[in-house]
Symmetry: D2
Subunit: 166 residues, 4 copies
């Protein structure tokens, strides 16, 4: 019996329309592959969209790693994990995921997650990252940072990476 791959989708709570669309597609594609989706669990932005995308697929499993007990949980999260760790819960997200996919990195929360994933030597796929993010994390995370041009490509990369790892 082998465990299903666990894929984190991270990104801002206040996200652009494009990021929300990508996140929804990521969530659905992850679920279609039979993988488990992990997010920060909040009912906003990238987190909400990814979970809703995953729940379009029957039998999907969505895990939300919440910062605090009193924050609204996305209804599309099957299992809310209430950490009460504030932003330190970001470390729990990336440590629990086999692969982390970042849907844009233009907010400090997502930046901290990418940095913590690299610190833990975990692979990260960047989608929609700006030049300065690619520059900064590309150099720092040599061998761990992968850049995708679309949600589809991000999932194909995750597929390749997870073959290597399992």
């Amino acid at each position: 019996m082998s465990r299903k791959a666990i894929i984190a989708v991270i990104g801002a709570g206040s996200a652009t329309t494009a990021d929300v669309a990508s996140a929804r597609e990521l969530g659905r594609s992850i679920a279609e592959r039979g993988w488990i989706l992990v997010t920060g669990g909040r009912d906003a932005g990238v987190m909400k969209a990814a979970n809703e995308g995953a729940k379009e697929v029957e039998g999907s499993i969505t895990i939300g790693i919440l910062p605090n007990p009193d924050i609204p949980v996305c209804p599309a999260v099957d299992v809310p994990i209430i950490t009460d760790l504030g932003e330190a819960r970001n470390n729990v997200i990336v440590l629990s995921a086999d692969i982390t996919i970042a849907c844009s990195i233009n907010d400090p929360g997502t930046a901290s997650e990418v940095a913590l994933a690299l610190k833990a030597k975990k692979p990260v796929i960047l989608l929609g990252a700006g030049m300065s993010a690619l520059d900064f994390f590309g150099t720092m995370g040599k061998g761990l940072i992968h850049v995708a041009a679309s949600a589809l490509e991000a999932c194909q990369m995750a597929e390749q990476l997870s073959k290597r790892r399992f």
Copy 2:
């Protein structure tokens, strides 16, 4: 759409034969009721038995909240959440569960979990607790502490409690 109840089963990594048998029965009964099982995720004692019991039921979901990245995960855990919090992960277990069932409390880890659950005003069902534990936590946790004589009774109590809560 309503979320499934999340029930934690807690207890020692080195448990007696009786506790292991109870934990297995608890895990199975929790899964049979369509609830999600949360444990400390280790491949030992009460945690291992509860997860194995749950996985006897098709479609069950088992979540393990692990203290560290390098600790052996019970193979019957579907989703390992790697907290890297050491024993502080005990707080994540009880905060994430709607109801916590303790399979004996004769070790400090389980005692800390019961105390943290009470601090968070969460209901706890004690199974196989000794006199001094019943005395100590019974007084401290008035209205939150429930005492069961068997795994079956613990699950029936959880059923009653979860009706009140959802």
Copy 3:
């Protein structure tokens, strides 16, 4: 160069007059011995009293390990450590202290701290503990639990214990 002993004083935020008096005396005695005081840092009950007692002594150092950024910090705390861990900060308190002194254990927060200290194999001195607490933790923490009848005796015990450890 050897480091000063670090002594935690723990107890309820809403404490009895007797506990507050003991905590104040403990704080002062710890500071008089040149030790560093660690508490949960809140501006209430045992925490407040212990810190105020310590600050009666010139050159004393008081560290407060706070649960959240928005909780009022006791003004007698020299160094507030803001954990944003909620009750999981209890583990940080007992891990950071060489010895923990509990000023009564009749609330779940203090009970969780004593349990977490035992789990980490750290010595705990109980002051003003009721029969059921002595019974429960006495059995569980054999060799680690010490019982004092007064603040003075607790400090003398801490002195003996710290000689053994340093």
Copy 4:
């Protein structure tokens, strides 16, 4: 009675000679101003140098926020806080500091700390940061990110910033 400012110095455990020299000067300058130094507490790189610099000043106070109980603590740390949080302790460092000074940001641990400080709306002074770091965090942390050309300038900036805050 007002509390002393708490200044964090962050940077890699394996640092360049230049960073180590800057960190030592930062530690000494912070202590000379009567401020409390907070670091990650390890006996290596920027952390070690900053603490040693501070302890050249009589009456200085150095706090180390350690990731785990078994990691070597820098002997120049007066008060080791043992978090057992792994890299999540980075959040405790930046939340506890009034101002954070980063001595280069070329490793993921430091990058996560800068990101977490920005997330918490805390001011960060960058010293010796490369172009891509300045670019990335400069845009993200508008109004919170300050750039210093030397340890002296960093301390002068911290002085200005702490006047605004207290």
